[in-house]
């Protein structure tokens, strides 16, 4: 696992260069948004249960078949697994906001995830939708807290959604 600083430095070390203009701009932006990144994560961390509960409610409202008999989230056990998995995605997104890159998502969340979900019969599209709903919920909370909506907030959520989405073969 690397943050964006280590990622940049490893790259420049291999080519034996000091950081050039684009790299310095990248690092400068990371440091300058640092305080805000921490504030955003503090908001997420203080309300994870609320974010997950609200997003799940909305998900089951949009796709009511999920919780009806025979649905993928039917039975209390499966329903609670949906909540657990959503919390899992939210937690890794909160980590990635701090590292400024997707390394923690790639290594600790997404590696093998598609195969696991497919083998468990969990629909990936529904999962992607739940991540999208959590993203919107987080953005709403940030607006309420007057923290604006910096692009780095959506990045990890969008990255997860993209990774879960079906690809053209």
């Amino acid at each position: 696992m690397q943050d964006i600083l280590s990622q940049v430095i490893n790259h420049y070390d291999v080519i034996d260069r000091f950081l050039d203009e684009p790299a310095i701009a990248l690092v400068t932006d990371f440091f300058q948004t640092g305080r805000l990144r921490v504030q955003v994560v503090a908001i997420i961390n203080s309300n994870p249960v609320d974010i997950v509960r609200e997003s799940a409610r909305q998900l089951f409202e949009e796709i009511p078949e999920l919780i009806q008999p025979g649905g993928n989230a039917y039975t209390t056990r499966r329903h609670s697994m949906y909540l657990r998995d959503m919390d899992y995605f939210l937690r890794y997104a909160s980590y990635a906001i701090l590292t400024g890159n997707s390394s923690v998502l790639d290594e600790r969340l997404l590696a093998g995830l598609r195969d696991t979900f497919n083998s468990l019969g969990i629909p990936l599209g529904v999962t992607a939708r739940s991540v999208q709903l959590m993203k919107e919920r987080v953005q709403q909370k940030l607006s309420e807290a007057q923290l604006g909506n910096s692009p780095f907030v959506a990045e990890p959520f969008d990255y997860i959604i993209h990774a879960l989405s079906e690809r053209n073969v």
Binding site: S6, D13, F18, T28, F30, G34, I44
Partner: protein, 164 residues
């Protein structure tokens, strides 16, 4: 990259992830402090990068005054060029370490195995350490007192790591 060379941010995330929890307020405060100090460290790293040639030239002159009998001052152009090149490498490593706020990159790239390497190349370690002292002094001459205090530990880390 293995676990032992993580940054302050990724180290904290690794611990939190192991316990399947979000970062605590205390951990977030540490990361916030890291970000705030980062802007100053980045600025110093940029000064070192922009002036690396001057630092190396001054350092080299000073080194030869103190250690006139050394491979790089023997008239052998290869030794001379290698000495200057390696000083450039160490300045570069200090600039990286400043940006990361951590000496791990210095250790992994420039310290582990360095003593064995220089010994096998016939470079006296005592002279090498003196050269690093001169490099540090040349850098300190260029930086303000405050900036110098931030950069100094990274040079000292190299000196300690190469001392026989």
């Amino acid at each position: 990259m293995d676990e032992s060379v993580m940054s302050i941010i990724t180290r904290m995330i690794a611990v939190a992830d192991l316990e399947a929890r979000y970062l605590t307020i205390a951990e977030l405060q540490t990361i916030r402090d890291f970000f705030e100090a980062g802007q100053q460290r980045l600025r110093i790293a940029n000064i070192l990068a922009a002036n690396s040639q001057t630092i190396i030239n001054t350092g080299t002159q000073r080194f030869w005054e103190r250690c006139p009998v050394t491979p790089s001052n023997s008239g052998n152009p290869t030794y001379r060029a290698s000495c200057i090149r390696d000083q450039g490498w160490y300045i570069r490593l200090v600039s990286y370490a400043l940006i990361e706020g951590d000496t791990k990159v210095i250790d992994t790239v420039g310290i582990r195995g360095a003593k064995e390497m220089y010994t096998s190349l016939g470079i006296p370690l005592k002279n090498l350490v003196e050269c690093m002292h001169c490099l540090k002094e040349a850098a300190m001459d260029l930086l303000s007192l405050d900036d110098g205090m931030v950069a100094m530990p990274y040079f000292d880390h190299i000196i300690t790591g190469l001392t026989p």
